[in-house]
């Protein structure tokens, strides 16, 4: 049973986003980190990069494989979590906190409506 916080929005591809004004913070869900297990490396976007919703924004590598992480909404990257470059294992231990991946300035805030709420995501992962 994974942790699915109520206050976040979720993409079907297992990213979460927390919105504060026009800034969204993005990470991957507890379910996703559990599925990956043993995260050893994270590739982050560059600040200033313009991302479209659903495009590859980052890569999280476990022992077994590299997994693409998609941006749940469109926007410009304003900050990335450099701490993950030194401590990628934070993705496993604190996926909703210290292991946020990047922050972006939303360019199409209406896209948020297409994301799932906690109940919808919970239903998707079958918990």
């Amino acid at each position: 049973m994974s942790n699915i916080p109520e206050q976040l929005r979720y993409a079907a591809s297992h990213e979460w986003i927390k919105v504060d004004g026009d800034i969204g913070t993005v990470g991957i869900s507890d379910h996703a980190q559990h599925e990956l297990s043993d995260v050893v490396y994270v590739d982050l976007p560059k600040a200033g990069a313009k991302l479209a919703a659903g495009t590859v924004a980052a890569v999280v590598e476990s022992v077994k494989a590299a997994s693409d992480i998609y941006s749940p909404v469109s926007g410009e990257v304003v900050e990335v979590n450099a701490a993950l470059l030194k401590k990628p294992e934070l993705v496993n231990t604190d996926p909703y906190g210290a292991a946020w991946l990047f922050r972006l300035k939303l360019s199409v805030p209406t896209e948020l409506a297409a994301l799932k709420d906690a109940a919808g995501y919970k239903a998707q992962v079958g918990e």
Binding site: S13, H14, I28, Y41, V63, S67
Partner: protein, 462 residues
């Protein structure tokens, strides 16, 4: 996140359908006198259990005082709650492009909370608790892997050694009865169809343990070349197999099988019984550690597995999946067919020269190509390389560069749990193959510094 979960929905393991038909008769050591006499008569060789176990003509049902039948009923291994944790994550069913096969241990893996993935057409556990955790268990104590998906072929007949010498690269006349040998089966171009272990069970009876994904292809190739008078039997479906690996593997096996167990030496295979059922134990493996590979009838697989886990628990034994198996074998630089070996690469290019006998008289497919390649030298070689600094782990198909020129391509790669940095195997131009050569690995458009190193990455103290 893009995931690659596969469906656990598939046909029951075929062994269920075939039952015990394909498995050799009961352990002959426990068969009444007449049975043993018949076995000797049929095979014309000694009475060592390894020989007798596979004398298939002996089919007398075994019922002795020490082994009341039915053989397994009532003797099931006790499974403690510590052995079977709560069911963990099982991949979401997405689609089922091809029916996947299951081993006789499929439900056991589910009970143990394994994460199941597709591998070579089989639904196999990739991990139970975690790849790093399982990897460390094998390096520091012991791990047990389901290898029931692998193929077991039996080849017998007076001309079997000669036939195998004309089929396989290594000298099949070398192993004595009860000994194993790593060898390769090539196509006419010298490319690798499969790498396998050949065990000599009798003078003229051999067990070939082949890769799961290659069973059908290997069988077809062998049958195509099979002369009259040599019998071939594919018992892959009816045979269960487990690899017990790690520095404490032998201690565990002794505790589990008792003092009467004939302990095989390195590369040897012996037979014994467990719960009145025949088992084979080979001192071989695919992890770089000491250990054993057990073969037995699929019917006893689950009981054997749980009983072994229980016996090994005080020694730190853990069930391990294919994820750890891959990182362990990569550290030991043991090649994986389909990645590091292929029909487009010869064993000489793969650095497997010691397992190719070009001096033996027999002509195996591809021998002329290998002779030519040996005299001219190979153009590309399978080498080991490591990341020079912290960075993204190498993965198969990543390109390696020397300046602007591509030097080769990775065939395997992973972060090494033992060493703490990224490691890989790659075919590179011979001029770039010397240990110490600096190259660059291309990862998602960026270049990462790597260095060719001497094989293997990891060697156990022994």
């Amino acid at each position: 996140m893009k995931t690659t979960a596969r469906s656990p929905k598939s046909k029951e393991h075929r062994s269920k359908l075939r039952g015990i038909l394909g498995w050799p008769g009961p352990l002959v050591a426990r068969v009444p006198e007449r049975g043993i006499a018949r076995a000797q008569e049929v095979t014309g060789i000694g009475t060592s259990p390894a020989n007798l176990l596979f004398a298939r003509n002996v089919s007398t049902p075994t019922r002795t005082r020490s082994c009341p039948g039915p053989a397994v009923a009532g003797q099931e291994a006790k499974i403690s709650s510590a052995t079977v944790p709560d069911r963990r994550y099982i991949p979401t069913i997405m689609s089922d492009p091809a029916p996947l096969q299951k081993t006789a241990l499929f439900t056991a893996h589910q009970k143990l909370g394994a994460r199941l993935v597709e591998f070579g057409g089989w639904l196999m556990p990739v991990q139970y608790t975690g790849i790093v955790d399982e990897h460390k268990a094998v390096r520091e104590a012991a791990g047990v892997f389901d290898i029931s998906h692998m193929g077991e072929f039996f080849i017998s007949g007076g001309g079997a050694p000669g036939f195998l010498n004309g089929l396989l690269t290594n000298d099949a006349a070398k192993p004595g009865v009860g000994q194993g040998q790593y060898t390769l089966m090539l196509n006419e171009r010298g490319g690798v169809i499969d790498d396998l272990i050949l065990y000599r069970l009798h003078d003229a009876e051999f067990l070939l343990v082949v890769n799961a994904a290659k069973i059908d292809e290997d069988r077809a190739w062998i049958k195509k070349n099979l002369p009259a008078g040599i019998s071939f039997s594919d018992r892959s479906d009816a045979t269960g197999a487990l690899a017990l690996q790690g520095p404490r593997a032998l201690e565990i096996a002794r505790a589990f099988l008792g003092a009467a167990w004939p302990e095989p030496k390195r590369n040897e295979i012996t037979s014994h019984s467990w719960n009145c059922q025949p088992i084979l134990a080979a001192r071989t493996g695919y992890t770089g550690e000491d250990g054993l590979e057990f073969f037995f009838a699929g019917e006893i697989a689950e009981n054997f597995f749980f009983a072994l886990l229980e016996a090994g628990r005080p020694f730190g034994l853990k069930p391990c999946g294919l994820g750890a198996r891959d990182t362990l074998r990569l550290e030991a630089c043991l090649p994986l067919n389909g990645n590091d070996l292929s029909e487009k690469r010869t064993p000489l290019e793969a650095g497997l020269g010691p397992f190719v006998s070009l001096t033996k008289e027999a002509v195996f497919p591809g021998k002329d190509i290998l002779q030519k390649q040996k005299s001219e030298g190979v153009k590309e070689k399978l080498v080991a390389f490591r990341l020079k600094e912290k960075g993204p782990p190498p993965r198969p198909h990543y390109a390696l560069f020397q300046g602007d020129v591509q030097a080769g391509e990775a065939t395997s790669g992973a972060p090494s749990p033992t060493l703490g940095y990224g490691i890989g195997l790659a075919y590179v131009k011979t001029a770039c193959a010397e240990p110490g050569t600096p190259l660059e690995l291309e990862v998602r458009g960026a270049r990462v510094p790597v260095e060719i190193v001497k094989k293997p990455f990891y060697k156990r103290n022994s």
